[in-house]
Symmetry: C2
Subunit: 134 residues, 2 copies
């Protein structure tokens, strides 16, 4: 799948978390955003593993941004929560020859590769700070 709710919820969470200096727990966040608590918890865990958030257990624990908003870009956010890069095309962009051996799809491979590159670049250049600043 290409871009799922996990990406949406991740970005929503980052915007809210950027406004609070203290850790905010997943249950509070899920109530504020009116989204599934358990699903959100998994997403926040992914963001923590990707070093985008810090997580703290125990009383007054929760999640806080680990980096400055201008250091957090949408490509890394989506990549971390989607389990894979937010690829529009399944053919992995990391390899430069066509992964399938279908003649037709191989002939369009350079175009797909180019499109994926454009999308990746756009997402990589779009930071949380770009969203927060007016």
């Amino acid at each position: 799948m290409l871009i799922t709710r996990a990406s949406e919820y991740a970005i929503l969470s980052l915007i809210v978390l950027s406004k609070s200096k203290d850790p905010k727990d997943s249950e509070t966040l899920s109530r504020e955003l009116t989204i599934s608590k358990s699903f959100l918890a998994k997403i926040l865990q992914s963001l923590a593993k990707a070093d985008i958030l810090n997580s703290y257990k125990g009383v007054n624990g929760g999640f806080v941004l680990k980096k400055e908003p201008h250091e957090i870009n949408m490509l890394e956010v989506m990549s971390s929560v989607e389990g894979k890069a937010p690829a529009v095309f399944e053919c992995s962009p990391s390899i430069h020859d066509c992964p399938s051996n279908q003649a037709e799809i191989c002939s369009i491979w350079p175009f797909l590769n180019k499109l994926q590159g454009k999308i990746d670049l756009f997402l990589a250049e779009l930071t949380l700070a770009d969203i927060l600043n007016d």
Copy 2:
């Protein structure tokens, strides 16, 4: 879901169709791209309804581009096959006040709106011609 395989298949189809002047039928296209015939047929129908493709029934029928590649942008492609705009956020970007009455989500609404606008602009400016030209 925000951006699904329907968008992927639509773009793949458009790239292939851009290379053939004669109508190409959905079964041939599905074989060339090694994707589901019935699912692809529905996608092509959506693209035809959106005036991106022309469809012809009967012998030697099939689909052809209805516009020039530079006139086809990724926002309209995705919007037509996803049934809705490829929104990262469910809150409709067309209304400028927050649709939910949740205090927290309303406070971040302007930021979501801004992000959605950036994404829409990027997709609207990205045409099929941009993908095809080297």
